[in-house]
């Protein structure tokens, strides 16, 4: 970690999730508590990374925000999701239709299957545009072309044609080709580029690679100028170079549009490079909430420490690497928080009974507490915590993306 350039912006939060709990029907068994009290806040231009293992409730949080959880079997038990001053949970399906795709867009993990195979790329983008914008057909095509342009899908076509032109110019200089041919190419170049672009609109998704399809997904999501983008593991199915390109593209678009992004991932490298604020989740709860710099510099929750320590270094010669369990199974790790003497012990579902503090009465044993300014940790809800209510998890931090060096690589 090198430069720490915090740009606090006194803005209204874009999205504010408070104490959200979602459970699922499990047939004869007890209901599965997928999300059990998640709070987080996203500001304009901010990237909030939601990190955690599979099944910790990251995707359910995002899907609930979009109201995409099928009910039944799903059920929102409590909480609020404030977006633009309205609680999304109280909106009707008709009102949600306007928000989905229009104000909040979402991209998914599986670009290979996330596009409908029987419709052309153009049709799928235009569908989104027509749903949310009152435009004529030719305007919609222009919007779609622009969206595809923004995600850089035409770069190969343009660069091929430009290379052709450069080669032809060289030939003309060498006297091997006529000036007329060059003029002709120069004149028709924009036309040909546009032709190639229009061609792409009528192409079907199966002809494109995963990275290209994810670009189409992003173009589709961004065509309606949403203010918030929920990116549910957008790069998990892609290889590392494409992953970097897609993330670079997202932060570039974010800069230009001032969009808020919820970046769901389980890759800490992605968090380090792309996020402003990190929200670490475990078992449906937020265990730690902090700016990315502070989280990486000084993780407070033993689980977060476990995650960091389990990343092998390049020169690691140990035969057995550290696991998350090595950290969280050590009760001493739970006594390191400031205020430990007051009974501020990090919440952990598998902490042995004798190491748990005396809980405050009530069903919920967990609370997200601001341990020190701008640092939230999931702790046991003791009477002390109960009597010292903290601020909601809310960080306005933005950092200059260019300032982040090789944080991801060093992990």
């Amino acid at each position: 970690m090198t430069a720490h350039i915090h740009t606090p912006t006194p803005s209204q939060p874009l999205l504010s999730v408070a104490d959200l709990a979602v459970s699922f029907d499990n047939g004869a068994g007890p209901r599965i508590q997928a999300v059990a009290g998640v709070s987080l806040t996203i500001h304009p231009q901010q990237t909030l990374a939601v990190v955690g293992e599979s099944g910790c409730g990251k995707s359910v949080t995002a899907m609930t925000t979009m109201q995409l959880i099928p009910c039944p079997p799903g059920r929102v038990e409590r909480g609020t999701i404030l977006f633009g001053g309205r609680d999304l949970l109280s909106l009707s399906e008709r009102e949600m239709l306007k928000i989905r795709g229009g104000e909040i867009a979402m991209i998914f993990q599986e670009p290979m299957t996330s596009l409908n195979p029987v419709y052309s790329i153009g049709d799928q983008i235009l569908e989104a545009i027509f749903l949310h914008q009152k435009v004529a057909a030719d305007e919609a095509v222009e919007i779609a072309l622009k969206a595809l342009d923004e995600v850089g899908i035409y770069q190969p076509i343009e660069s091929r044609l430009k290379r052709e032109l450069v080669a032809l110019r060289a030939d003309v200089d060498a006297g091997k080709a006529s000036v007329d041919a060059m003029r002709e190419l120069e004149r028709t170049l924009p036309e040909r580029v546009r032709g190639a672009k229009m061609q792409l609109l009528s192409d079907y998704p199966h002809r494109y690679s995963g990275g290209m399809r994810q670009r189409v997904m992003i173009a589709m999501a961004l065509a309606c100028q949403p203010t918030l983008l929920l990116a549910d593991e957008p790069t998990t199915a892609l290889d590392v170079t494409i992953q970097a390109q897609i993330l670079e593209l997202l932060s570039d678009l974010q800069r230009r549009r001032g969009m808020g992004i919820m970046l769901i991932t389980h890759n800490l490298g992605v968090v380090a490079e792309n996020a402003d604020v990190a929200c670490v989740m475990y078992a449906g709860r937020v265990v730690e909430y902090a700016t990315v710099e502070e989280l990486f510099e000084r993780p407070l929750h033993p689980y977060t420490r476990g995650l960091f320590r389990s990343i092998p270094g390049v020169r690691d010669t140990r035969s057995r690497l550290t696991t998350v369990e090595d950290v969280v199974d050590n009760p001493a790790e739970f006594r390191l928080l400031p205020g430990c003497q007051n009974g501020i012990i990090p919440w952990w579902p598998f902490l042995p009974q004798e190491h748990r503090p005396q809980l405050a009465p009530g069903r919920e044993p967990y609370a997200l507490h601001e341990i020190e300014p701008n640092r939230w940790v999931g702790v046991w809800r003791t009477p002390y915590i109960e009597s010292h209510p903290s601020r909601r998890a809310d960080l306005t931090t933005l950092r200059s993306k260019s300032a982040v060096g090789s944080a991801g690589a060093s992990l």
Partner: protein, 515 residues
């Protein structure tokens, strides 16, 4: 795509031929063999020897005595659009007239030497007179050929009688039906010999054999002369050649000739021309009904999975599926058509007997009597057969629709569409249903041949003169031409349906391209 279509169409030829060969072989292997139905018809003639001669004529005319493969090959040669050998002629009425056939060889020439061969020469007339002359000569040649074939049979019968008088060991060489194949009696001592003593009656029977041989030789000479005359007249071309002649009397191209159904003595094509549209009509009505009922039901069942519509439609369709058509048809006739019960529908047939006098549309005449007209009459007659054809088809198709809808509801692109803000109704129709159509097209491939098979039963039950009835009749009578032509038409139609399904698939799924 064009290349693919051409390849598919070309591949259909061997497929159809393979199917017809299989069916033909099965018929030939059945007891009685090909043309078994004809033997019964011979019974109308009283005299037993006349029956035998009639049978011999029939066998000669249709080549029933030839090996199965030869009969099939001859059929292929006629159906194949490229013809070799002497070009057939086409009479003004559209019949194909083939060159007069060679006579069957005289039997037992070692004992009864054939009369000297001869060559008739004469100059046929020209113009309209030639047509008249050829017709006469042709009729003449056919009549004499018939006499000759009958005399050969009479000769063989006389020989068999003689052999029976001679007794053992000769009788053992008779064929199971008691006929004598002359080639089995090469070493028969002429006029007597073994066993000793020669039975007293042998001389008399031998005399009869000799008399039959003499008659046979006379008939041969007459028939041969008539044949040669007819051939010469044929060569003068009283009619234009059939089809397009590529090389005169060597190669020509002609439309398939399905021959004459010998059970009805009518060109097979005439029979098919009236029967195929009936079957196609029934199926083309039944198919949309099945799809229009089953697909929306399946969609509805998948939307409200586990709901009343889902369970009720599943139960009802499965119930219908398990009722055999034979039973349903009989019940439908018995309860819905029988005047003792409801009597709502006609019992059988496709039209009312008074259809010729009907107007097309319903009308009320001046005395305010309502007439239903031809169209409604046909619909009324078709109601029960179509009902019997469709009710069993709902189950499979609606279950398939439901299953593939449910599959697609969980697809990632549906989640994408929802995230885009597409309303649920549009998701169901333009995303889920659109993708669920693909397996339904494939289902078409499986259902169509089964439907044609099912319509055989339905047509039988309701006495509808379609392909089904024709097939059953052809099989019962072992009518070679009819069986082969029916098989040919049904398999061609099925294969074309399969091709249509493949084309539809390519149109509906952009991932499928035939190149």
């Amino acid at each position: 795509m064009a290349t693919y279509l051409i390849r598919r169409l070309l591949l259909m030829i061997p497929t159809v031929l393979g199917i017809t060969l299989m069916v033909f072989l099965i018929v030939a292997l059945a007891p009685g063999g090909i043309g078994a139905g004809l033997a019964v018809q011979g019974g109308q003639v009283s005299d037993t020897s006349k029956v035998a001669q009639m049978q011999a004529y029939m066998e000669d005319r249709y080549g029933l005595n030839d090996p199965v493969v030869v009969q099939y090959g001859r059929w292929i040669a006629r159906v194949c659009p490229v013809r070799f050998g002497t070009t057939s002629l086409e009479s003004p009425s559209g019949d194909r007239i083939a060159v007069p056939r060679e006579l069957p060889e005289l039997p037992m020439q070692w004992a009864f030497p054939a009369p000297a061969t001869f060559e008739v020469t004469f100059t046929p007339q020209s113009g309209d007179a030639l047509i008249e002359e050829f017709r006469t000569l042709q009729r003449d040649a056919e009549g004499r050929r018939r006499t000759y074939v009958g005399s050969v049979r009479a000769f063989k019968d006389a020989l068999a009688d003689h052999v029976r008088v001679l007794g053992d060991p000769w009788t053992a060489r008779l064929d199971p039906k008691g006929g004598a194949d002359p080639t089995n009696f090469r070493d028969l001592p002429l006029g007597g010999g073994q066993p000793t003593p020669v039975p007293a009656d042998a001389a008399a029977t031998w005399a009869k054999v000799n008399a039959a041989a003499a008659q046979m030789h006379q008939a041969w000479s007459l028939a041969e002369e008539a044949r040669q005359r007819a051939t010469i007249a044929f060569a003068a071309r009283p009619f234009p050649p059939a089809g397009v002649e590529v090389i005169r009397d060597v190669v020509s191209i002609d439309s398939p000739d399905f021959g004459v159904a010998f059970s009805r003595n009518r060109p097979v094509w005439d029979l098919i021309k009236t029967a195929l549209p009936v079957t196609m009509l029934i199926n083309l009505i039944a198919f949309p009904i099945i799809y229009l009922v089953a697909v929306p039901t399946g969609v509805l069942a998948s939307i409200r999975r586990g709901g009343v519509a889902d369970i009720a439609s599943g139960f009802l369709f499965l119930l219908l599926y398990s009722v055999p058509v034979v039973l349903a048809g009989v019940f439908a006739i018995g309860f819905l058509a029988n005047n003792q019960y409801l009597g709502w529908f006609p019992v059988s047939g496709l039209h009312d007997s008074a259809q010729a006098t009907m107007t097309f549309l319903p009308y009320t005449d001046p005395s305010s009597v309502w007439h239903r007209g031809w169209l409604l009459d046909t619909v009324w007659h078709l109601a029960l057969p179509v009902l019997c054809l469709v009710y069993g088809g709902f189950a499979v198709l609606s279950k398939q629709t439901r299953a593939s809808m449910l599959d697609n509801f969980n697809a990632d692109y549906v989640r994408t569409a929802r995230a885009k803000g597409v309303p649920r109704k549009d998701i169901v129709i333009s995303h889920v249903l659109r993708n669920s159509l693909l397996p339904l097209i494939t289902m078409f491939v499986g259902i169509f041949p089964a439907m044609l098979g099912g319509s055989v039963v339905v047509e039988r039950i309701f006495t509808i003169p379609g392909m089904g009835s024709l097939v059953i009749e052809a099989i019962n009578l072992r009518d070679r031409e009819l069986i082969l032509a029916n098989t040919f038409m049904i398999s061609s139609v099925s294969l074309l349906a399969l091709l249509l399904a493949d084309i539809l698939y390519a149109l509906c799924d952009p991932r499928v391209a035939y190149e």
